[in-house]
């Protein structure tokens, strides 16, 4: 995997306005010194804070009832138990700490589902940095608990109303803020996307997931897994989980994308009713890097869709795109229905309410466990508390095995 060149095969690079290039070069230098070379003990401090503040290591749990259901060994990496309820803290804490080492005075971030914004707000409060988070209007409406959590941690949440008001627009808006305030501000990108060094740097902050998981699975199962699977939106938990397994040729890697309501696209309206970028996207340039994107034939970026706000993005990390091209990672997808079923199944069988993002991986496991081997490692990238209102609404219209009787729940007053 490349760290220094900024290129992953044909993908990656730095496609940003000139005003940002000096900041990107400054960040590249800081990434190499502090993250790769551990200058001033940066990585030691990062690991220490991940342990004490973040609660690492997170457990690897054998899911007994899922294992029984599929007659195989299913291990869950419990990133939902990380402080804040998602893997996002690994990256946010790393970047905010790096910004402090770089003497930056202000943090900006964008967020889709709100988990990255929440993690960034927490890291900023922890490290004493002012924080502004851009969030699409539509996402604010569907992720209200996270918005409140960000405010509780002292962050300003700025609504983005242009376009459809989701993550894509929020990223563009944050880049504009960065262009205006680049001299004293660091932009904490929330995934393995954007211009170099972000894709490599975010992967390295998330790599701790696979460092732990690889050791834990060897200890518990006595060997490496046959298959490793997790959800893929931008791809940060995906690359974090895959990083240490990429060289293990006997381990199959599955990136489970959001199939949304359909894999067909509406070219005329410019809408892809899915976020399956690796499965259906094409080579393009978006938000600072060359990667796979959902676009029409002219190169205009499409509106994406997923029941899970955290996967609802028209791009994907360039390294992941390259790994799929090289057939090291298999890109698959699960639709909204399958994800909701996975959500209820894990809640009922294991007492774990997963994020709707992770529920896509659980949906894939249900239908494909026979092909995944005897030892399966699956990442629960976050917990599902943030998704309860969405799940209530979406379950209402569907007949889902194992789901509670939503009609009765609604009739008795729901959340009121």
């Amino acid at each position: 995997m490349s760290s220094h060149t900024g290129k992953f095969g044909e993908y990656g690079g730095q496609y940003v306005p000139e005003a940002l290039m000096p900041a990107i070069e400054e960040l590249e230098d800081a990434y190499e010194r502090y993250v790769l070379d551990n200058e001033d003990g940066f990585m030691d401090e990062f690991r220490g804070r991940l342990a004490d503040f973040g609660g690492r290591p997170t457990p690897l749990q054998r899911a007994d009832r899922l294992s029984e259901r599929y007659d195989t060994d299913v291990y869950l990496k419990r990133e939902d138990l990380l402080h804040g309820g998602a893997h996002k803290l690994n990256n946010a804490l790393g970047q905010v700490l790096l910004a402090k080492y770089m003497d930056k005075e202000r943090i900006i971030a964008e967020t889709g589902a709100g988990q990255h914004g929440t993690a960034t707000a927490m890291a900023c409060a922890h490290l004493g940095m002012p924080c502004e988070v851009y969030m699409g209007r539509r996402d604010i409406n569907r992720q209200r608990p996270n918005v409140f959590r960000m405010r509780l941690n002292g962050a300003d949440v700025t609504p983005v109303t242009v376009g459809r008001g989701t993550l894509k627009e929020a990223i563009s808006e944050t880049m504009r803020d960065w262009a205006e305030n680049v001299e004293d501000t660091h932009y904490v990108i929330g995934s393995v996307v954007g211009p170099h060094p972000f894709p490599a740097m975010v992967r390295d902050f998330q790599r701790v997931i696979s460092e732990e998981a690889r050791e834990q699975v060897r200890e518990k199962a006595g060997r490496l897994p046959d298959s490793v699977l997790t959800c893929a939106g931008g791809g940060s938990n995906t690359m974090g989980l895959f990083a240490e397994f990429v060289d293990d040729e006997g381990v199959d890697l599955y990136a489970v994308e959001a199939g949304g309501s359909s894999l067909e696209v509406d070219e005329k309206e410019g809408i892809a009713p899915n976020s399956a970028t690796l499965s259906t996207g094409t080579d393009g340039v978006l938000h600072g890097s060359r990667t796979r994107v959902l676009q029409d034939r002219d190169g205009q970026i499409m509106e994406s869709h997923s029941v899970s706000a955290g996967l609802d993005y028209a791009g994907v990390g360039p390294e992941l795109a390259d790994l799929v091209d090289r057939e090291r990672v298999t890109a698959v997808n699960v639709d909204d229905d399958g994800a909701l079923e996975g959500f209820h199944r894990l809640s009922q069988l294991e007492g774990i309410i997963p994020a709707l993002e992770s529920a896509h991986a659980l949906g894939y496991l249900e239908d494909n466990h026979d092909a995944l081997g005897d030892v399966i490692l699956l990442n629960i990238s976050g917990r599902g508390d943030k998704d309860l209102e969405t799940v209530l609404e979406e379950t209402h219209d569907r007949d889902i095995e194992g789901a509670p009787d939503i009609e009765t729940f609604a009739a008795t007053g729901g959340f009121q």
């Binding site: 940003v16 005003a19 242009v162 563009s172 504009r176 262009a179 002219d298 190169g299 205009q300």
Partner: protein, 282 residues
């Protein structure tokens, strides 16, 4: 001498920008033509991209209006062919549209520049394409005799200046201040510092970002620029016209008047600057 270089030969160049097809194809043709009547020496035409990360709210809204009215790269080239203007035209767009243009098997900069040159485009500005990634587009521009304009920002220093200098042609777009495009009420002090850093470059310097009045244009030329680039102040006139549903002829007339004000400001700046020491003219 290329047509863009010629535009700078006889005094300060006034370079207006409009998003092609904003708010609709026919009106936009009339608006661009009005800019030439108002004194434009070069015209920058925006080919709208759905994620314009370098633009502020004014031009972003123009891009949305144009896209909603059906603008596409193919339609853009028809638009250029339909324009009745004699001044050089520069296409301002984002790299993904260039990378995707053409038929399968030959998509990319070569196909894009070939088509653009055929309809009369003389140069390109691509805000999300830094010099490091510009190789394929630079080659295509050389092949078809087009200029490739790069932006120098207030933050650009050292090696980056060298890299840009080795790639730029036509004119260098000097970004007057940090941030995104958008009209402002004053001209930034960063302008003079930026111009001083590139004073010895052998290419005309045109200043853009935040210039909205004849007085701003005058100041920028006095500060040593060879040209002024104005976008948002003109796009504002188009936006107001669209909002109020004014007849295209009324909006075109306002654009022509605004263009004249800006051009005259630039000319005033040149005559004032001629009377005192100046990095370009001493």
């Amino acid at each position: 001498m290329s047509s863009i270089s010629e535009a700078f030969a006889d005094g300060p160049a006034f370079i207006p920008y409009l998003a092609a097809g904003d708010p609709d194809y026919e009106s936009s043709l009339a608006y661009v033509e009005a800019l030439e009547r108002g004194g434009a020496d070069v015209i920058e035409l925006g080919l709208p991209f759905s994620e314009p990360i370098a633009e502020g709210p004014t031009i972003q809204s123009a891009i949305v209006r144009s896209l909603e009215a059906g603008m596409t790269p193919t339609r853009f080239f028809e638009f250029v062919a339909d324009l009745d203007v004699d001044v050089p035209l520069v296409c301002m767009t984002y790299y993904n549209l260039i990378a995707q243009f053409g038929e399968d098997g030959e998509r990319g900069p070569e196909a894009f520049v070939r088509r653009a040159a055929a309809v009369g485009i003389d140069g390109f500005v691509v805000p999300d394409l830094p010099a490091e990634e510009a190789g394929p587009l630079r080659e295509a521009c050389d092949e078809y005799g087009c200029e490739l304009v790069f932006i120098v920002a207030p933050t650009t220093r050292g090696d980056r200046l060298e890299r840009i200098m080795s790639q730029v042609s036509g004119y260098v777009y000097v970004q007057a201040r940090l941030g995104t495009t958008g009209a402002r009420t004053s001209v930034s002090d960063q302008t003079e510092e930026s111009l001083a850093r590139i004073a010895d470059w052998d290419v005309p310097k045109a200043v853009g970002f935040g210039i909205s009045t004849g007085d701003h244009a005058q100041r920028v030329i006095e500060a040593g620029a060879d040209g002024v680039i104005v976008g948002s102040a003109l796009v504002d006139i188009v936006a107001q016209g669209a909002e109020r549903d004014d007849p295209a002829v009324t909006v075109a007339s306002k654009l022509e008047g605004k263009a004249r004000e800006l051009k005259e400001g630039a000319l005033r700046g040149a005559s004032t600057a001629d009377g005192r020491p100046h990095p370009e003219r001493t």
